[in-house]
Symmetry: C2
Subunit: 373 residues, 2 copies
Amino acid sequence: MNFKIRKKEFLDSISNAVRAISSTTPLPALSGIKFEAKENSLVVISSDSNISIRTIIKNTEKDTDILTVNETGEVIIDARYILEIVRKIDSPFINFEIIDGTLVKIYGANSEFKINGMKGSEYPEINFSVSDNAFSIKTEAFFEIVNQTAFACAETDTRPILTGVNFKAKEGILTINATDSYRLASKKVEIDSDLEFSITIPNKHLSLIYHSLANVDDVMIVIDNQKISFVFNNTIVQTRLLDDVFPDTSKLIPLSFTQVLEIKAKELANAIDRTSFIKSDGKNIVKLTITAEEIDITSSNQIGSSYENVKLISFEGDPFEISCSGKYLMDAIKAIGSENITISFSGELRPLIITNKEDNSVVQLISPVRTYK
Amino acid sequence: MNFKIRKKEFLDSISNAVRAISSTTPLPALSGIKFEAKENSLVVISSDSNISIRTIIKNTEKDTDILTVNETGEVIIDARYILEIVRKIDSPFINFEIIDGTLVKIYGANSEFKINGMKGSEYPEINFSVSDNAFSIKTEAFFEIVNQTAFACAETDTRPILTGVNFKAKEGILTINATDSYRLASKKVEIDSDLEFSITIPNKHLSLIYHSLANVDDVMIVIDNQKISFVFNNTIVQTRLLDDVFPDTSKLIPLSFTQVLEIKAKELANAIDRTSFIKSDGKNIVKLTITAEEIDITSSNQIGSSYENVKLISFEGDPFEISCSGKYLMDAIKAIGSENITISFSGELRPLIITNKEDNSVVQLISPVRTYK
């Protein structure tokens, strides 16, 4: 095994590969990255057995200077070591060769590293094949989906299915839902596909895929039995799905409202943020007292209390009070991302929903909390 | 107690005061900041009983808009709460008043906080008096002293005195030493004072003082029995001293050398940095193999090895080998801060020293380690 590779492409593939490496893997081979030098390509594989990444580096018609393979072969190298070495070698090209068994020499202009690897055959077989159940999406649209929903997942796995984001496709509409059972983030986008599916992606894997897609324009998403694959450039990132049934959230969103207000998002978020250090049992609960022209926001615990006042843009309905998590409100306002937001209520014990008049693709729902006076 | 104060000055004083607050103080009053509103001033005090900070805020001739005291009085407020409140109130002026016993109301334009404090009388008496044993120093010069020496202190308190930086004055020369017994950083500066003293300041307090001095031009340093005070603007930061005797380091620095080389500091530091992930027992040991024109830098452990090569600017003496901590070398090179550095040796089992031809005020000494082949 002997190849010469441009540092940029090599470092990019390794930086991406290490995302799948788990520090607690029981299988020693999985703490490494597998390199397969083939006739005209270098295959870089990493996995924690739930999420797996494969990148194929080869020359293109326009760019014939990326890779020269002098001898084919394969080896596994500890992920942290190879990342440090390739990151630090101060040279535009890097040479990589097996000099003895699994002893690898990696060198640039003035630096040379020798490192003991493992035999490529010790790496588990990973199936990167994909079916035709595929559709394409702009990564920008995918980022927006993740930013507007994923934060609402459950953090603890009391109900494991709630630690994932549900993607459901039917008749050209992709509906994305995330809920921790106290709040729900729901998003709808059109896709150019008549696929029908309902799958739930673990949120921690979604976050990893998100970061893999920096600098990518379009991504192809392939749905297979028990796995989803994201295909872009010469890379596949595939992850196992959560196999429980995602709860039906469609009936949670109220359809009629007793009060509807419009407010400047930033003013409300800043006011809530100022009270966020006032916590009881680790939670900041805010009471919203809404009258025709303004909201009073109050929060209190044993040590102190706060009072904020924000003017409304418009209000319909009777004055009333409702309490809920300040953090949930701030998360939802941030996810909506618009200058003005609409908050709709249907009673102090029913969920409130936050929307944006100019973009009805996203709905944020928050359950109120009972406050005892 | 009732005063109105400009947010900027109030926030600055509180941000500085919280540096002295320890989260593990046994005395509840010390988890708070003490505010004393006097006729024409506000005194802000904090302490962890080893380091104490006092700032006096008052109007100046040029700026009469900082503070209005309507009623004198004193109170202690939990440090984290008051910092959060004052940081977040979105108003150029802040009102602060006791409304009932120790219940304080703090408010700006649209925000209002109420918080329970403690009686000012529960705060321990802190003596901020200073003697005439004082000298002035540019804060820039003080920063350079700390940057070039403090990193060499011991981190563990096996020998408590070595966790401090020693300041010794005699005949107008201030000599600053820090050592963990494997390395020594030594700095000399002239001061306009004939004071004579030898004191050792705990490094963690020095770092705190360092950060207090951002945006300050000159600082007055006052040496008293068992304490040192830094006086600047309207603030005093005072800290207890380590009371053991600091070891005599003057004889550690060799006076004659068998080999002397000059090298580009950055090239050497980068080469060592590239090998720094190769550790045995958590330490990166580098072997320097020096010949007339170059240094070979090698490092190895069970998993791998590295080889780097850096050209010399000049070399006097016979080729030889020496091993030492790569981290200590990088720390010393960074502290010297010059483009080129001189490294002088007097044998492979004797300390090497790093200096800068253009500035002989600072010497960095590093003990070699024995390597077993």
